[in-house]
Point group: C2
Chain length 278, copies 2
């Protein structure tokens, strides 16, 4: 593996057109030793089969995406969410990763109280954090860009994510820093330092910001170097905060998904070297 | 005019399908005494003709939207932007409004330095603020939602807008608070208090947050009550900060534009009473 690619992890959603065996092959060919996985394609391939595949391929699983969606008001919906997150913790452990990324969830339909929804996330973390620790898994609360605050994630800033995480030991709960979600925030650099000092940067992900945004704003994450984010500066901030772990590229992009997956993976590795670490 | 509608101002973009005379007629019929205007339709109707129309109709012009776009790097582009903003100040004065709303502008193509772009906005305000005061016009720096940070407005939070405004006297530069842009921000309530204490809330605008967002994310501002924002709570925060001025409804919404403008105006007034002041 080239030194430049040593910290690169490719989230499988970046090249979701590749099956898990194709992804493993392509990573081997390019000298990429780490991947981030998603629950749905893992389940489709089979949890045990996936764990065996990545182990046999010598791949390290940096994160499992994702648990969360913890803002439900109704007791039965809340109980289902907690049960699903306990399964996600078990899946993470089975895959050999120490990090489960959590997306908090949005406002329940018809409600307008962000603060109360965030408090329900804290309550849910209280129920899940000990279970995670038992399985050797850390929870990484991921702030999502404020454009998702209503329907996907009421945690919009690193500051908010750390306010939640700091109620728990760092070995149980930390944060995920994703450039796509925090790049606009002039307070994010100070929050990265705060997170790093406490050993709470449990995941670091990259995507670039390109415009115009597509309808629904889910699948417009830009290839590294194509957008407005100074990726190298963010990598240096996270490094300066003491983080030495994997750097995961997680792109949701219809145009990348329409291309040959191996070609996209090679391009991503090249962009990673050119715009982030090289 | 009904007491409930006394503070309502309708931004003309909310019902852009109405001509200026139609807007004046419809406002009269509904008991709406205030409007916010945009430069382009004013120019199309004629500045002098618009000023006469609103005066004859007894309408108060609460804001002119908008100046700004002050982030250019090239000296000639910067000079053009300043000249255009001086014209906008003169237009505001001619229309009899004391408030010109400023949208800062995005990152110049190929650049990635938000902080430097914000500093160029400050430099431009330095050139424009005295000119505004001479004309009896206050500049209202409007933070736009972080989803516009790259291509439209590098000022994403009320905190950032106030950091800019506080370099100048409040009679020259303040902020515009728009619920659509700040509703997600847990620090916005404290920043509203900060702005109000200094007499810097120069405009207060309402729109609701509805999802999914449309492509380009410009024309998806929801009718009052249709979305995720607790509008009444924001109105009460702004009131508590000492603001007693107009409350302007500014919706950009393709579905509203496709309907009969008078019907949309009546609905907007009804929603204003139901969800904001009633």
């Amino acid at each position: 593996m080239s030194t430049d690619l040593a910290r690169l992890s490719v989230n499988q959603m970046t090249v979701r057109q590749l099956s898990l065996p194709e992804l493993a092959d392509a990573c081997h060919a390019l000298g990429i030793g780490r991947v981030g996985l998603w629950r749905e394609p893992v389940r489709a391939y089979g949890l045990t089969a996936t764990a065996r595949l990545v182990r046999d391929a010598g791949l390290t699983v940096t994160t499992l995406c994702r648990g969360g969606f913890l803002t439900a008001l109704a007791p039965d919906a809340r109980a289902r969410a907690l049960a699903d997150n306990r399964r996600a913790i078990e899946e993470a452990a089975a895959l050999g990763t120490d990090t489960l990324v959590l997306v908090s969830g949005g406002l329940p339909p018809g409600t307008r109280d962000l603060r109360a929804a965030r408090e329900r996330v804290a309550d849910a973390l209280d129920a899940l954090a000990p279970c995670a620790e038992e399985h050797g898994v850390r929870l990484a609360v991921e702030p999502l860009h404020p454009m998702y605050a209503a329907d996907r994630c009421v945690v919009s800033t690193l500051g908010q994510a750390l306010d939640l995480a700091e109620r728990f030991p760092a070995r149980q709960v930390g944060v995920a820093v994703d450039t796509y979600h925090v790049w606009w925030d002039d307070q994010a650099p100070a929050q990265i330092a705060r997170a790093g000092a406490a050993g709470r940067i449990h995941a670091f992900q990259l995507a670039d910001w390109t415009t115009p945004l597509p309808a629904g704003v889910l699948d417009g994450r830009g290839q590294l170097g194509d957008g407005a984010i100074d990726l190298r500066a963010w990598k240096e901030r996270v490094d300066a905060a003491g983080y030495t772990g994997p750097i995961e590229v997680e792109l949701f992009n219809e145009r990348l998904w329409a291309r040959d997956g191996r070609e996209v993976l090679a391009e991503t590795a090249e962009r990673f070297v050119r715009h982030v670490v090289g």
